[in-house]
Amino acid sequence: MDVAILGIAMSDFAPRPELPPSEVVYPVVKAALADAGISMDDLESIVSCSQDIYDGRTISSMGVNEVIGGYLRSESKVAGDGLLALMYGAARVASGEYDLTLVIAHCLESIGNPHAVTNGSFDPYVQRQLGIDSTVAAALQASAFYARGGLGPDDAAEVSARASAKAVANPRAFRSKAHTAADVAASPVVCGPLRELDGTPITDGAVALVLAGPNRTGDRPVWLRGIGTTTDTFWTDRDLTSVDALRGADARASKLAGLTAADCDVVESASRWAHEQLMHLPALGLDPHADVNPSGGQLGGCPVTVVGLARAAEAALLIREGATNALAHAPSGIANQQHAVAYLSKERR
């Protein structure tokens, strides 16, 4: 895959319910264009990423249409994690039909009721009536995972504590106070075995990347070497402790990239709940307590939908600062049914 990341911009991640989507998104698009050294006149192709149920608006891309340059340009909305939008943007460039593509993800987690919003994705015939939401599914997954033996809530607490320390050092992340594993264990139970500090705070934000083909890469490109995704069955049709979909996504991305996680000096792997990281890292061939997520990761505060693109953005920034290879990963769906993985590098394949 011969696609480069030319421009990178991220908003701060924090609840800002007073801002409409256009005001969250416009500064990020403006900054990404400036970072790429291009103007909107140079662009013809845009991939947006948002979820209608979070924005409370059907065709949620309409709210940001004009500020992302939609007028007379070819823009489509991917409704899913930002890494999937990145994959589509990369395909538009790799197809040869566009030299440049803007990928822009946004999400406003703070304006709706997260319980009702996540309840919406459960089976409407036999599951939603239970009042179930994504937290309950995550708790069931954590419970099943811990029951396998080996790793437990104390391990998750450590993951959370480490993430908070890194988040504090990252100006974009929401968490501004580090906490210890003991703090996690003492925090209120949200839905057993999940405790409040095992999770991710509610935030709003946006991330934009400008992608370029080999003719327009500028002088410090970050190469998107490979990207892939795999989907598992719906949560009640599978073993919740399975990470087959992550292995599948990694295999696809790795094959295109000619890289594996072991080759990466930076790993940005998203987990909404700390136990998920204990599941994800071994699937990537890493130790469950491997030192990853220099940004603080999703646990530091980053909204769903945006989170995968934010991982790629954080990884890309570190490559500009001297890292060689990076992996960006984000899951999506109830109990992480789908996974996407991207490999970035200073070096072109």
Partner: protein, 172 residues
């Protein structure tokens, strides 16, 4: 990827004679941020004025207001007063019931509804017309706003528009 082991085999699937329906109500509540343009626009509206945001490159005046002119992709540089009178650019009398998204109640029919280009604006707003006889309404007619008796700085300060005269015959 599939879990579970087979249970007892069902050899004959029987469907009910009548289809089974599951009734559900999904209640979604949102608090939408109005943004900074809204504050200025509504303050002007409270004083009986319409203002739009201005593009310094193409000189367009936008209602509803917005931070960026999407045509030029340039930040709007300020506000321009427009109207209050305007011209109908599209019009109808609605006869089918429709649930008002704000009140949750059916709107009473018939009601007039139009695209209106306020004098000086580059875009159309849409609003209600107090005329319900469609033979009296037409593209090109001149209109003026009907403000609420008490204005509070919300869009409801404008109750609708009314005709002030026949069509201009000019560009719609």
């Amino acid at each position: 990827m599939r879990g579970g082991r087979g249970g007892q085999r069902v050899t004959e699937l029987r469907f009910p004679d009548e289809p089974v329906f599951v009734d559900q109500t999904l209640t979604l509540e949102y608090t939408y941020g109005a943004g900074k343009e809204a504050a200025h626009y509504l303050a002007a509206l409270k004083e009986g004025r319409f203002e739009g945001t201005h593009c310094p490159r193409c000189d367009r005046a936008y209602l509803p207001p917005r931070p960026v002119c999407g045509i030029c992709y340039v930040e709007c540089d300020g506000w321009v007063e427009v109207g209050p009178e305007g011209t109908i650019t599209g019009v109808t009398v609605v006869e089918v019931p429709f649930v008002d998204p704000i009140t949750g109640k059916q709107r009473e029919v018939p009601y007039g509804f139009a695209f209106i280009r306020l004098d000086g604006a580059s875009t159309n707003i849409f609003h209600f017309m107090n005329e319900t006889d469609r033979t009296k309404l037409g593209v090109g007619m001149r209109v003026r706003p009907r403000f609420a008796a008490e204005r509070t700085g919300s869009l409801a300060d404008v109750e609708g528009f009314e005709l002030i005269g026949p069509a201009t015959g000019g560009e719609a």
